[in-house]
Amino acid sequence: MDLTSFVQSLLNGLSIGSVYAIFALGYTLVFSILGIINFAHAAVFTLGAYFTYALVGGAVGFNGLLANKALPFGLPFALALILGSVLAGLVAVIIEVLAFRPLRAKRADPLLTLVSSLGVAILITNLIQYLVGAEPYSFPSNTYEGLPPAINFGTPNSPIPIRSAQVVIFGVSVVILVILTFIINYTQFGKALRAVAEDATTASLLGINTDFYILLAFFLSGFLGGVAGTLVGSSVTIAGPYFGISFGLKGLAVIVLGGLGSIPGAVAGGLVIGLAESFLPAELSSYRDAVAFAVLFIVLLIRPRGLLGRTQIQKV
């Protein structure tokens, strides 16, 4: 492997790995608090991308109920990314209130909650198709204003071109990861959230409003999903209402690999899978997903609790 393709693979791996990481963190936040996998997260990921697309002024295609409609204004990409992700976060909050909380109140089996979240995912996916059709949506080509299609990381004589989209993805993901780490570890809010995750009952006895923190966890999770969806959608395309599904599976692989419920684990898992995928020879790249899950399988054989997961202590 020559230097050019090594650097390209490395940067591509970091870029896609970091977006896996922020997506998987959405799963992790909910899992660490409720102990369940929120399958609707993949649908929120998709929704986030559509929200941002609409906010930058993108028009709906000729299929679906909203055919040919567009917002009367178009926001700059950075602002649309934040707003679209906030909307995705609010959808996650609605999902918690409608699909998770009632079941929790009735002390339903976690499996039922899982199925309920799967139902919500299907519902959202179909709703998107009903409203805007199954066609792909691409962000306008001048989305990252001023940036060329590719940035040269080498010299003019031996160029190492990297697509600007990848650089933007990596930059935004790192910023989000740093902010999130700060919030969780060093703020009152983060401490309360961790307390609820540790033991909800004790936390509520200590005066922490657990329901509120669960809502906030869902909001953050949806926000992260929305950011990830937008970044992927702007780099490639929003490939239709189903585009979150394969990503959702990858996200599950990432959190299991990193260790269920572990935040640094989700980041490590994302980067490992991203890099493994990008260093795969091009002839095999259509087996990328198989590689992701093979890595997962091997790691689990050696460390069943994942890379950074903690062993569960069974109390009798």
């Binding site: 050019t4 393709s5 390209q8 693979s9 591509n12 896609i16 295609g61 000729f62 299929n63 679906g64 109920l65 009632p102 139902g119 299907i122 519902l123 179909n126 709703l127 198709q129 009903y130 059709g133 199954a134 066609e135 792909p136 949506y137 691409s138 306008p140 080509s141 299609p149 590719a150 160029p159 071109p161 697509r163 989209a165 990848q166 992927v232 780099s235 490639v236 395309t237 490939a239 239709g240 189903y242 585009f243 394969s246 990008s278 795969l280 091009a282 002839e283 790249s285 259509s286 990328r288 997903d289």
Partner: protein, 488 residues
């Protein structure tokens, strides 16, 4: 409760407390029942949207899937959105699998239904099945086929249908996979009691679903199945889509016309799609036959979105021509990423990229993409003008695509074959089984003047198409719309 009673200053002797407790229990029970029914309703509604939404309401204004019952009551008129609800069994109608299983379990009922349908054919419209992908990854292409078929239904019914009898299309969603296609075909054959089927969307699906129709002696016209071996599946299988081996080489000739100095060629194809595999074989053979240098063959998956690896590897080979066989989304993305990373040479796209939907994927970077086509909106024939007029009423200024035209042609072949069969012996007098067999013979014998140009079939069911086209994409300055400019 007791605390409440105290605070309200009520007497709380034993009787009162018991009464209050009983009432509270009743209230709780009531609440439980009410909540239960609300939850049940909500779950029902969710299921309805999840199943029905995916199948029946996939495209607003698109045909609903008919609420066929076990008794085999004919069908629903396409486009009648309220029929499914009126029949009161929408949930069942959405679940194609459930119906088809029920049907196989009750062969006698279905057989009985077949006779009655045949008898009823004289008065009611003639059902023709459209089994294409309305949902799933290939929904893009399938939706274009749905539009083409709907336009054909209106077009031919306005012209008097089959000698005065209207046709009616029955749509069944195949989704993008083999299982979906099998279910849809079984449903159309056993519940829809169709005289024939236009479908499925992908060659990959045709290899699994067509044998079912062939065994049931139901004529099938493949609207977009261009892989090798489709008409050979059986006597009842034909196609209106020219095989890739005939269409694809035209694109390489056109590329050599634009740049006679082409030497190095890189070929990429989606290795998880039967059609793309078949197409790339033809491309690679043609490249070698023309004496060009095939420097590398790379693969990808139709589900991929990140193609930087393939793009980087391709560019490192310094090719003069890149040939991509994939579907609109993945192929378009690959083209975009190749251009983003600085590839300047010519690109040929396979048949999967032959749709205006690719504009939205690669945007300004689509410009210059060369595509061999079985249909060109610029073809100057009377039938094509009529077709374009009819399509304009449906979708405005968006030019019709090859998939629109091929689905339209599929319906047209059925209508014209039915007409000429009816002229020989009245089809209203035939049983469904006899009609299907006679119709198949009639289809293969006929000649048709279609939007694709003049077509006929070999005895095996392969299409003979008189003319092919090569187009080059020209994108407009806005970067989101463009046209296929006819170059050959």
């Amino acid at each position: 409760m007791q605390a409440n009673a105290w605070s309200l200053g009520l007497r709380t002797d034993v009787t009162v407390t018991v009464n209050i407790r009983r009432r509270f229990k009743m209230f709780k029970m009531f609440r439980r029942v009410r909540l239960g029914s609300i939850t049940a309703l909500a779950i029902g509604a969710m299921l309805l949207v999840a199943c029905g939404g995916e199948l029946a309401t996939a495209i607003p204004g698109a045909p609903t899937i008919e609420p066929t019952t076990a008794a085999g009551i004919a069908t629903t008129v396409s486009g009648a959105a309220d029929t499914a609800v009126a029949a009161g069994n929408t949930a069942v109608s959405g679940a194609g699998t459930v119906i088809s299983e029920a049907a196989t379990a009750l062969p006698t009922t279905v057989a009985g239904a077949a006779t009655s349908i045949a008898g009823a054919l004289g008065s009611g419209p003639i059902p023709i099945g459209i089994g294409v992908a309305q949902t799933g990854a290939v929904a893009l292409l399938g939706q274009e086929e749905v539009t083409g078929a709907q336009v054909a239904e209106k077009f031919f019914n306005d012209k008097g249908g089959v000698n005065g009898t209207q046709i009616k299309l029955i749509f069944q969603d195949t989704a993008g996979d083999e299982a979906g296609a099998i279910n849809a075909f079984q449903s159309l054959i056993n519940q829809g009691n169709v005289v024939g089927i236009v479908g499925p969307t992908l060659s990959q699906q045709a290899f699994s679903a067509d044998p079912i129709a062939d065994r049931a002696h139901v004529p099938v016209l493949g609207p977009s199945n261009t892989a090798k071996g489709i008409p050979q599946i059986g006597d009842y299988i034909a196609r209106v889509s020219a095989p890739v081996a005939v269409v694809a080489p035209n694109a390489i000739d056109a590329a050599l016309g634009i740049n006679p100095n082409i030497k190095n060629v890189v070929v990429l194809y989606a290795q998880d799609d039967a059609f793309s595999k078949s197409e790339t074989g033809t491309f690679q053979d043609t490249v070698k036959a023309k004496g060009l240098n095939l420097t590398q063959v790379l693969t990808f998956s139709t589900k991929d979105t990140d193609f930087q690896k393939q793009a980087t590897d391709t560019i490192s080979q310094k090719p003069d021509l890149v040939i991509v066989s994939g579907l609109a989304q993945d192929g378009g993305n690959l083209v975009k990423q190749l251009r983003d990373l600085g590839y300047k040479g010519l690109i040929i796209g396979g048949n999967g990229l032959n749709t205006a939907n690719v504009f939205k994927v690669c945007q300004a970077q689509c410009d210059g993409l060369i595509i061999a086509e079985a249909y060109s909106p610029e073809a100057n024939t009377d039938m094509n003008s009529q077709f374009k007029e009819a399509m304009k009423a449906k979708q405005g200024d968006k030019p019709p695509s090859q998939f629109n035209a091929q689905a339209f042609t599929g319906v047209q072949v059925f209508v014209e074959a039915l007409k000429s069969l009816d002229n020989k012996s009245k089809i209203s007098g035939m049983s469904l089984a006899d009609l299907r067999t006679a119709l198949n013979k009639e289809i293969l014998a006929g000649k048709y003047d279609t939007p694709l140009g003049s077509i006929s079939f070999t005895p095996e069911g392969e299409i003979n198409q008189a003319k092919f086209y090569v187009a080059q994409i020209k994108m407009n300055p806005d970067g989101t719309t463009g046209t296929f400019t006819y170059i050959k």
